[in-house]
Amino acid sequence: MIKNVNKKKFASNLAISFFFAAIFVLCYYFLLEDKIMPYVSLINTTAVRGEDIEIIAKYNIEAKRLIDYPSYGSKYATLEIPSINLTLPVYHGDNKKILRLGVGHYTGSYFPGENGSILYAAHNNAGLFHDLDKIKVGDIITIKATYGTFKYQMKEYKIVKETDLSAFPIQHDKELLMMYTCWPIDKGIAGHKKERYVVYAEKIGDEIEKE
C-alpha cells in the first residue's frame, strides 16, 4: 500500500496544510496577540502562589523603595511591641483569613522603609491587638521585615468612627505607622463595633539587610 503512495502529492498536500496554518498563525500574531495578551498578563499578575510562603522582598536603599513586593497573603515581617509583650506576624493584605492569622497590611499603603504611611490592622482579641490601648506615648514599636529592621515611636492615639477615612492619611513623604483595631475592646459590649482605636507612631531608625 505504501508503494502506491504518490509521495509528491502527499508532500504537497502536507505543505498546503502547513501553509494554511501559517497564515492563520500570522493573522493571530498581527491581529489578536495584542488584544489577548493583556488579559493573560492580568490573570498572571493576580495569581497567588500560596498563602503561607515567606517571599523575600528586595529593597533599594537609594530609591527607598521595594523592588520585589511580597505576594498577597504572604508573611513578610514580625511586629514587636515590648511594652505590651506583643510579637505578631505581619501579612501582606488584610482580608478575613489574614486577620485570623495575625496583623494585616493594607495593600494601598507603603511598606516599612518606603518613607510613606503604613497601615496595619488586627482584631482586638487576646493574642492580637487586645492590648493596643495599653501602648503609651514614647513606647518603641519594631518591625522586623525580611529586608530590614525598622523602629517607630508612638506619638498619639485616637478613637475614630469606622467610616472616618481621614484618620488614616496616606502620606508620601513621611513614614508614619498606623495600627488600628475595633473599639471598644472587650468592654462588655457585643456586636458590630462602629469605632476604631488607632495608634500613630513615627519612624526613629532602621537597619537595612545588605544582599
Binding site: 502506491n4 509521495k7 490573570i43
Partner: protein, 275 residues
C-alpha cells in the same frame, strides 16, 4: 479536465475559509461541552465538593467576623443547613446560565440569628450598644452567607458576559455548521487537494491556540473573585486544555491519514485506467 487558474485560486481561498470555519466550529464545540453546558457546571460543583466547601467557608467567615464583636460561636447554631446552601448554589448557577442576577432573601437566617443572640445575651453579662448596631451586625452576617453563594458583587460584572459568551458559542456553532456544509458542496467540485489538508490544518491551529494562550497562563495559581471559585476555574481550564490537546491530536492524525489515502487512491485509479 484542467481546472481554470481562477478556480485554483478560489479553491485555496475557500479552503482557507473552510479551515477558519472549522477552527471556529471546533472551539465552539469544546466550549459547548464545558463552560457553555449547564449540566457540566452542576457536575463540576458536585464532583469537586464545592457545596461542602462553601458551607464550611460561610461558617469560617462568620466566625472570623465574630472575632471582634464579643459574640461567641454559639450564636451560629442552626443558622443554615447544607441543603439550603446546595439549593441556593444551584439557583445561582441556573440564574447565571440565564444571565440573571441572583438575589437571595434570607430572612430565615436573620430571624434565627436574632433568636440566638437574645438567648446568648440572656446567659452572658454582655449588652449591646443599641438596636441599630444589632441590626447592622445581623445584616453583615446575612451578607456573608449571600456573598459566599453569589461570589460577592463581582459576579455581577461577569454574569452578563458569560451569558453573551454562551450566545456567541451557539451562534458560532450554527453559522460554522451551515458555512461548512455550503463550502463542502462548493469545494467538492473545484478543490485540488485532499480534505485532509483542511482537517490537518484545523488540528494544527487548535494545538497552536492551546500553546499560544493556555500554556502562557499560570493556571495552577489563577485567582479570580474567591479561592473556592478559582479552584473550580482551574479545573475547567485544565479540562478545556485536555479537550484542545485531544481534539488537535485526533484531527492531525486523521488529517494525515486522509492525505495519505487520498494520495494512494489517485495512483490506484490511474493504474486501473491504464489497464
Amino acid at each position: 479536465m484542467k481546472l481554470k487558474k481562477n478556480n485554483i485560486v478560489l479553491s485555496y481561498i475557500l479552503g482557507f475559509v473552510t479551515l477558519f470555519l472549522g477552527v471556529i466550529f471546533a472551539l465552539a464545540l469544546i466550549m459547548k461541552f464545558s463552560i457553555g453546558n449547564k449540566h457540566y457546571l452542576y457536575h463540576l460543583v458536585k464532583d469537586n465538593n464545592y457545596y461542602q466547601t462553601i458551607y464550611d467557608e460561610i461558617n469560617d467567615e462568620m466566625q472570623s467576623y465574630l472575632m471582634s464583636t464579643g459574640f461567641t460561636n454559639e450564636i451560629l447554631n442552626n443558622l443554615y443547613t447544607k441543603d439550603e446552601v446546595i439549593d441556593d448554589i444551584n439557583i445561582f448557577i441556573e440564574n447565571t446560565y440565564l444571565g440573571k442576577e441572583t438575589k437571595l432573601v434570607k430572612d430565615n437566617i436573620k430571624e434565627k440569628l436574632d433568636s440566638n443572640i437574645k438567648s446568648f445575651l440572656q446567659k452572658s453579662n454582655l449588652g449591646v450598644l443599641n438596636q441599630n448596631d444589632l441590626l447592622l451586625f445581623e445584616d453583615e452576617m446575612v451578607n456573608i452567607y449571600k456573598n459566599e453563594i453569589t461570589l460577592y458583587k463581582m459576579a455581577n460584572t461577569f454574569i452578563p458576559k458569560y451569558y453573551k459568551l454562551n450566545k456567541y458559542i451557539n451562534i458560532s456553532l450554527v453559522v460554522s455548521i451551515i458555512g461548512l456544509i455550503m463550502l463542502y458542496i462548493f469545494l467538492r467540485k473545484i478543490k485540488i487537494y485532499s480534505w485532509g489538508v483542511i482537517i490537518l490544518g484545523i488540528g494544527m491551529i487548535i494545538l497552536f491556540i492551546r500553546m499560544a494562550v493556555y500554556d502562557r497562563i499560570d493556571v495552577d495559581n489563577v485567582l479570580v473573585i474567591t479561592e473556592n471559585f478559582s479552584q473550580l476555574l482551574r479545573i475547567v481550564l485544565h479540562y478545556i486544555s485536555r479537550l484542545l490537546l485531544g481534539e488537535g491530536i485526533i484531527l492531525c492524525i486523521f488529517g494525515i491519514y486522509s492525505i495519505f489515502t487520498f494520495s494512494i487512491r489517485r495512483k490506484y485509479h490511474k493504474s486501473i485506467e491504464i489497464r
